[in-house]
Each structure stands twice: as structure tokens, then as C-alpha cells.
């Protein structure tokens, strides 16, 4: 039995030059694509492709919360439902909320509750649905990234967008943004979500084995990556609303 958290480390994940199986450097993110406003029914939505992860988030609300007795007379209730589609991984996922999904939904809702200005919507509810269409490690972070763009797309007032990213350890090296092959045999995984404006950490989980010094470096690495992702989130929103702004200009021009 080896010392590691995740299982065998026989597989070589990082070569002598510090290049990983998918060609990334140890501190490099997978390619991330974010698109805002991809669904018609939802009040806000976003699609995120993060390496081989494909994640969709939709926001409904603020809308009336019912039954009435569960309303909060002082603020909006925020509920997040994280769901892995049955076909999202190699072996079929049994539909319905398992313990893992329940926990992830909870920590994501906890991350957003104080970022959203919920006190502006007493008695209301804001539902955030995160569907993992294709999973390849790092889905909760991709879910947070998608959800915060969807919330912004829905016009929900927030303190800031919330980027998220994980750092961890595999092959005895600290690496950013673990992919599936790395996570499977990894020694630690530290998903983190921050509020860039204040530097507050609103989501933090760790499993694995890190010395205090390694933990510190991982946390810095994931926080730095969050700032990169923050730019991609803002860019997605700019693209979405630049187009609609152009539409407005075009119709105005057509009128004249």
C-alpha cells in the first residue's frame, strides 16, 4: 500500500521537463471556454467547457418562494442543485441526489449566499441548477464558474463574480487544475472559490495529504488561477452583452 491518498502513483504524470500528460505545465490551466446566455427559458444561463468538462448552469429567479412558510422575510433563499448527468462519466451515474451531490450543492450555495445581495429580495428564491454533462475532474469549480456567470446573466445583483479553481498534488509535485487522470492517482485536491474584489475565500475543501508549506503554495496557486478565470468570466459577459448592445444599435439604425 502506498502513502498516497488517491491510489497508485506508478503512472508517470509529469515528465522531466515538467510537462504533464496533456501537455500542460504544472501551473497551467486547462483550456476554458465560457459562454453566457445559452438557454432561452432560464432567467440567466452559462455554458462552460473546461478541458474535457462540459457544464451548464441556469438561474431561475429571484421568484416567489413557495410554500410560503419556507420564505425568508428578510432575504432571498438561494438554492443550488448540482447534478451529474447519468451519461457524464464512464460508468453510468445513478440518477438522483447522492451524498456527494448533496454536499457539493450545499458548499456551492454557501459560497454564493453572501455574494448575492439577497436582502434586496425578501421572500424570494433564487434557484441555481448546475448540470454536469461531461465530467473530467474539477466539475464543482466549473460549476461555480458557470453559476456565477449565469447569475450575472440573470441580472442578479452581486458583490462580484465568483471564480473557482483547484490545485493539488500528484507524482509528488504541486499542480494546478487536476485533470481526471491526475486526480485518479493524485495525492491532494484543493478546490477554492474566491471573491476577487475582497480576496475572501468562499469555498474551500481539501482532501489528500499536504504539508503546511505545500498547502500554502497550493492555496496561492489556486487563488492566482481564480484571477485568470475571473477575466474569462468578465469577457464572456462582455461578449454576450456587446452583441445585444450591437443589436440595439442596429435596430436603431434600421429605423432611421
Amino acid at each position: 500500500m502506498n502513502e498516497m491518498g488517491g491510489g497508485s502513483t506508478d503512472i508517470k504524470l509529469i515528465d522531466e521537463k515538467g510537462i504533464r500528460l496533456d501537455g500542460r505545465r504544472v501551473d497551467q490551466l486547462r483550456p476554458i471556454k465560457i459562454e453566457a446566455g445559452v438557454l432561452k427559458n432560464a432567467d440567466g444561463s452559462a455554458y462552460v467547457e473546461w478541458g474535457k468538462n462540459k457544464v451548464l448552469a441556469a438561474v431561475y429567479g429571484p421568484r416567489e418562494d413557495h410554500p410560503r412558510h419556507i420564505q425568508d422575510p428578510t432575504r432571498a433563499v438561494v438554492e443550488v442543485i448540482y447534478n451529474m448527468c447519468s451519461f457524464s462519466v464512464e460508468e453510468r451515474v445513478r440518477p438522483g441526489p447522492g451524498r456527494r451531490s448533496v454536499e457539493i450543492s450545499k458548499v456551492i450555495a454557501d459560497a454564493f449566499r453572501n455574494v448575492i445581495f439577497t436582502e434586496q429580495f425578501p421572500r424570494a428564491k433564487i434557484d441555481v441548477y448546475i448540470e454536469i454533462l461531461q465530467a473530467n475532474a474539477g466539475t464543482r469549480c466549473a460549476g461555480v464558474v458557470a453559476a456565477s456567470v449565469a447569475l450575472a446573466d440573470a441580472g442578479v445583483p452581486m458583490m462580484d463574480l465568483v471564480p473557482a479553481c483547484a490545485a493539488g498534488k500528484a507524482n509528488n509535485q504541486l499542480i494546478l487544475d487536476l485533470a481526471k487522470e491526475e486526480d485518479n492517482v493524485g495525492q491532494a485536491d484543493l478546490p477554492t472559490a474566491i471573491v476577487p474584489k475582497t480576496g475572501e475565500i468562499v469555498l474551500l475543501q481539501l482532501d489528500g495529504h499536504l504539508t503546511p508549506d505545500e498547502f500554502d503554495r497550493c492555496l496561492q496557486m489556486s487563488m492566482n488561477a481564480c484571477m485568470q478565470i475571473y477575466e474569462l468570466q468578465k469577457d464572456a459577459l462582455r461578449r454576450r452583452y456587446a452583441t445585444s448592445a450591437n443589436d440595439v444599435v442596429e435596430t436603431e439604425e434600421a429605423k432611421q
Partner: protein, 257 residues
């Protein structure tokens, strides 16, 4: 857990915190006294009762036969569950575990699993076919806050003293649970700007954020979880980690009664 906390009490806890004090007179960096008893339930393969201040938790370990997970054909199975049953607090209800209970069990499970406390390879009987399954069940009886640390200490103590009932299943003599680490969970609450360890029930009810840190004998981190809607700064997390390691040593040294 009910969010209804009287404003007077909330005020009081905030005011105390601003002066560096707490409702039970402890400094921010001190745990309530913890006592641990083991081998208290006959039919269980391992059991423990932990008192952390007024919080009182029972933990039972049962070991049964089962099939291994497909991706771990030569390892036994560890499952940790927690329930918040109505006996422990007026706000707890019957029914399947709700998200707070699921979070508790998953965080405690993570500490045990990630510290590699149990050598699961020693719980394999026939690869791919037959292994021992270890069920750890956490039952709070009297809830006065910080079930994470009380439950975790109970789970660790119950596992450390558990035996594997090989004889009952016809696989030779019983043997002690293959334990090789002693993880310790330490939980912090953040109230306003103040971070304090081992929150009482009232402190829990008014706290903005929670941070649980599990460390091992070497002082390495094995699991961590931020809870509730508030946040922690980078500096606060580093401070908590230092204290968790220090307090972890004290908890590890508690004599099991």
C-alpha cells in the same frame, strides 16, 4: 438547525467577541474539555462516546461482509454516516439525512479516509469478491455545537478500538482493526471578524463561517472544509491551520477511558 436566535443573545455573543471573550469564558483558541470512552456497546465491533463540553455523541462501528468497489478490487470498504436525530435537539427532525448531516458525515469520512487511517488492503478476503465493509455511524445524543470534532474524535476512537469479526464469518481469528494513523479534526467558527475554535451551540447559530481542518501526527493537512455562507481570508486560514495542528496534538493525547 433553526436560524431563530434571539437578537439579545446574538448581540451578547458579538459584544463578547469584540472584547475577546466567549459565553462560557473560554479564550478564542481553547477547546472545551473533551472526554472519550470506548467499548461501551456490546454488539458493536467498536464504539465510543465523546463528550465535548455539553455535546454528547455516540459512535458505533459495525463490520460486515460485502463486495469491493470495482475500481478498488483488493480493498475493504469504509462508510461513514451521521444522523441528526430529534433526541439531540428540538430542531432536529426524523427522516432521511438532510444536507447538514450529509456534510458532517462526508467531512468526518474525508479525514479518516485521506489520513489513510485504516489500511483497507488488510480488509480484503478474496480480491474482487469478498471484503470487510466497515460502517461508522455517528449519533449525537445531546447537541451543543461542534459535532464535527466530537463526531470525528468518536469515529477515530471507535475505529482504533474496533476488532474485525473474522471468526463469525469463518475466516480465522478475530483481529484488531488495521489502524495506522490518528487524524484529528479541529473546527473554527467566524463570528463577525472573530475566529474562535470549537464553537458552542449558540456560537454556531450566530456564526458566519466555519472551517474544519483535519491534521495528522506529522502536522500535515489531510482534509479541510469551509462551511456556512461567510468567508475566510488567506491569513485567517493560515492562522487556523497553525492552531489546528497545535490543538490536534492535545486531542491526540487525551487518555481514552
Amino acid at each position: 438547525m433553526s436560524d431563530v436566535v434571539s437578537h439579545i443573545m446574538k448581540d451578547q455573543i458579538y459584544k463578547l467577541a469584540a472584547r475577546g471573550m466567549r459565553e462560557d469564558g473560554r479564550p478564542f483558541d481553547k477547546m472545551r474539555p473533551m472526554s472519550i470512552e470506548t467499548n461501551i456497546i456490546g454488539p458493536a465491533e467498536g464504539s465510543a462516546r465523546v463528550r465535548l463540553g455539553d455535546t454528547d455523541v455516540f459512535v458505533g462501528v459495525k463490520v460486515e461482509l460485502g463486495t469491493p468497489f470495482q475500481d478498488r478490487p483488493t480493498e475493504g470498504v469504509l462508510m461513514t454516516g451521521a444522523e441528526l436525530r430529534p433526541i439531540a435537539h428540538a430542531d432536529f427532525e426524523t427522516g432521511p439525512p438532510q444536507p447538514p448531516a450529509v456534510e458532517i458525515s462526508r467531512v468526518i469520512d474525508r479525514g479518516i479516509r485521506e489520513s489513510q487511517m485504516i489500511d483497507l488492503s488488510k480488509l480484503c478476503i478474496t480480491p474482487k469478491e469478498k471484503v470487510y465493509m466497515v460502517f461508522v455511524d455517528i449519533e449525537p445524543l445531546d447537541y451543543f455545537g461542534n459535532i464535527f470534532d466530537a463526531g470525528s474524535a468518536g469515529a477515530v476512537a471507535a475505529l482504533k478500538t474496533a476488532k474485525v469479526p473474522a471468526k463469525r464469518h469463518g475466516f480465522g481469528e478475530d483481529f484488531p482493526m488495521p489502524v495506522r494513523a490518528h487524524p484529528v479534526s479541529v473546527t473554527f467558527a467566524k463570528i463577525g471578524k472573530h475566529v474562535m475554535v470549537d464553537p458552542t451551540l449558540r456560537e454556531e447559530l450566530v456564526s458566519d463561517a466555519r472551517l474544519t481542518i483535519v491534521t495528522d501526527e506529522k502536522g500535515d493537512v489531510r482534509a479541510m472544509q469551509k462551511g456556512l455562507s461567510g468567508s475566510f481570508s488567506y491569513a485567517e486560514i493560515k492562522e487556523c491551520l497553525l492552531l489546528a495542528t497545535k490543538l490536534g496534538k492535545d486531542i491526540r493525547a487525551i487518555k481514552i477511558g
